[in-house]
Amino acid sequence: MNIEVRGVTKAFGGFVALRDLSLTVPSGELVALLGPSGSGKTTLLRVIAGLAAPDAGQVLFDGRDTTARSARDRRIGFVFQHYALFKHMSVFENVAFGLRVRPRDRRLPEAAIREKVTALLRLVQVDWLADRRPSELSGGQRQRVALARALAVEPSVLLLDEPFGSLDAKVRLELRRWLRRLHDEMHITSAFVTHDQDEALEVADRVVVLNEGRVEQTGTPEEVYDHPATPFVYQFLGSVNLFRGRIEAGRTLIGDGAVALPGPAPAAAGSAAVYVRPHLLEIHRHPEGESHFKAVVGRLVPSGAVVRVELTTEWGESVQVEASRERARSLELRTGEEVFLVPHDVKVFHHPGR
């Protein structure tokens, strides 16, 4: 089922959660709605589900307008952030719920319901917990039950709100790989909301980056990470250094015009915001290549496999560089030393407002 959102606007009192937002979720894909809190991503998911009514705009399933249909009739599976399992029912009954509330003429016989629920519980690997209450399960187990419950009604669309949000780091990693594998087997059109860029980049076929109720960029994980369309996307996906600079005669200059950066610059001249990811800056003892500038080493912070080096450029902007441990060790950096930084890949945007 292909989902299309057309020009949706939704406000809560004075707070505008979605502004004239449009997007498409292609049939069979797993799409991440990625954005910071307040970006409207959960609201968007609820509008698609029919759990929130848009103030304006349309939601289309396979080209048919479903805006006026209730959540009950949309054939969606919704996995809530806090799972929303029915507290007073066993795991089995939770999963069976959607099958039991069907109108009598469409309801499966009891034996078929049992068979189906058991199969689903086996699929999400919690069949041994069938008789437990939700309160007796761990967070990861609840998440699996919530997913099985949503799948039981054979939805044509699966929507997940921060599916890994309330899990601890290890379970989160494990579950997101598992979700990806599950999607590869079932191919249900799916959308999930997350504020975690790693999660979005790792799990999704396609990432929609949201900010202040608008779509900033849509693309494959590689596209949005390697070719961010806006400064916001660049900043939101991973850490980043920002330099103020100028565009002049097809070249980008930073550091009061002293340093010219490699690569093509935007055609129009003017102020520029220059972004460089910390791992794409290289530290050298001596000047290297055409484009390099001096900086003074501040703090050295070991962080896992890399060392984060905080420096100050000669014109006074602060910079972060990530170097591998070996590289840092061979450089024998010390606080207060002067080194040369070489940018390998920069992204130049026209500076807004000037």
Partner: protein
């Protein structure tokens, strides 16, 4: 340390003495007074036809008022706890009004409505319908004073539950009734039961409002509390306390059920608390 203990013992003793004097002693006195002349006199007082009529009237009143106010409570709680709308606070305030009106004034309202010179009095009299000083007025006055009980128990409880489980039920294809029966009510059943118990206790025990509208016709419009009053004012203490003991038993049952409900809902709360 020893001074701390002393303070503790002294405060506990003071609190228990106060509660003993003000709560336990009166409760014990009801039964002691009722049995003052022995079990025979007690049984005679309860076998009296007027006493039986009073019990019947009290049960009949509660049988009408409690289900109606329970349905109201469910409706009001569904609207107020699961939806946001303008005027909600006003609605809640209106709901609580009967609590801040004196029972006697509550009764007076129905005299003003249905009395001989009341708003509907002449019309009703012309059509030979008796409301005031009869069963309908007793029921209406009881309804008025017990309106908030169930709603007040349910609303905070259902608000605390949120709407996620209901939304989940709807996305799974449940209808409104199925959602209410299978998801919402099982989650609030103990609170509902408690509200119904309280509503019932007040409905059976209401005195002031019912006293105004009943007319005190023996054997016909006297509820159990009014029966107690009449006997007491006629200097029949044993009979009065015998009848009162029935109401005191009702109170004890109410308290016991309340303790049970608290224990049960506490158990549920403990069971559903998310592990850290």
């Amino acid at each position: 340390m020893s001074r701390h203990r002393l303070v503790r013992v002294a405060l506990t003793a003071a609190a228990l003495a106060f509660l003993g004097l003000f709560l336990a002693l009166p409760l014990a006195a009801v039964f002691a007074k009722a049995l003052e002349r022995g079990a025979g006199a007690y049984a005679d007082a309860l076998r009296d036809p007027d006493a039986r009529a009073a019990v019947r009237l009290t049960l009949a009143t509660a049988a009408v008022a409690v289900p109606l106010n329970t349905l109201f409570g469910l409706c009001a709680a569904w609207a107020a706890a699961k939806f946001e709308f303008r005027g909600k606070r006003l609605l809640m305030t209106c709901m609580d009004l009967p609590f801040s009106v004196s029972p006697v004034v509550s009764g007076l309202l129905f005299v003003l409505l249905f009395g001989a010179r009341g708003l509907f009095g002449p019309y009703l009299a012309a059509h030979g319908v008796k409301v005031l000083y009869a069963f309908p007025a007793i029921v209406l006055a009881t309804l008025f004073v017990t309106v908030p009980f169930v709603a007040r128990e349910l609303i905070p409880l259902m608000e605390a539950q949120g709407t996620e489980e209901e939304e989940a039920a709807v996305t799974l294809g449940a209808s409104g009734w199925q959602t209410l029966w299978r998801v919402t009510l099982p989650n609030v059943k103990w609170g509902l039961l408690y509200g119904v118990i309280l509503c019932n206790a007040r409905a059976m025990g209401e005195f002031g409002a019912v006293s105004v509208v009943s007319g005190h016709i023996r054997g016909q419009t006297t509820t159990l509390p009014l029966h107690v009053e009449i006997l007491y004012n006629e200097y029949q203490p044993v009979a009065a306390f015998a009848a009162a003991s029935l109401l005191a038993l009702l109170a004890l049952v109410t308290l016991a059920l309340k303790a049970l409900v608290e224990w049960k809902s506490g158990e549920t709360a403990r069971a559903t608390r998310r592990p850290a």
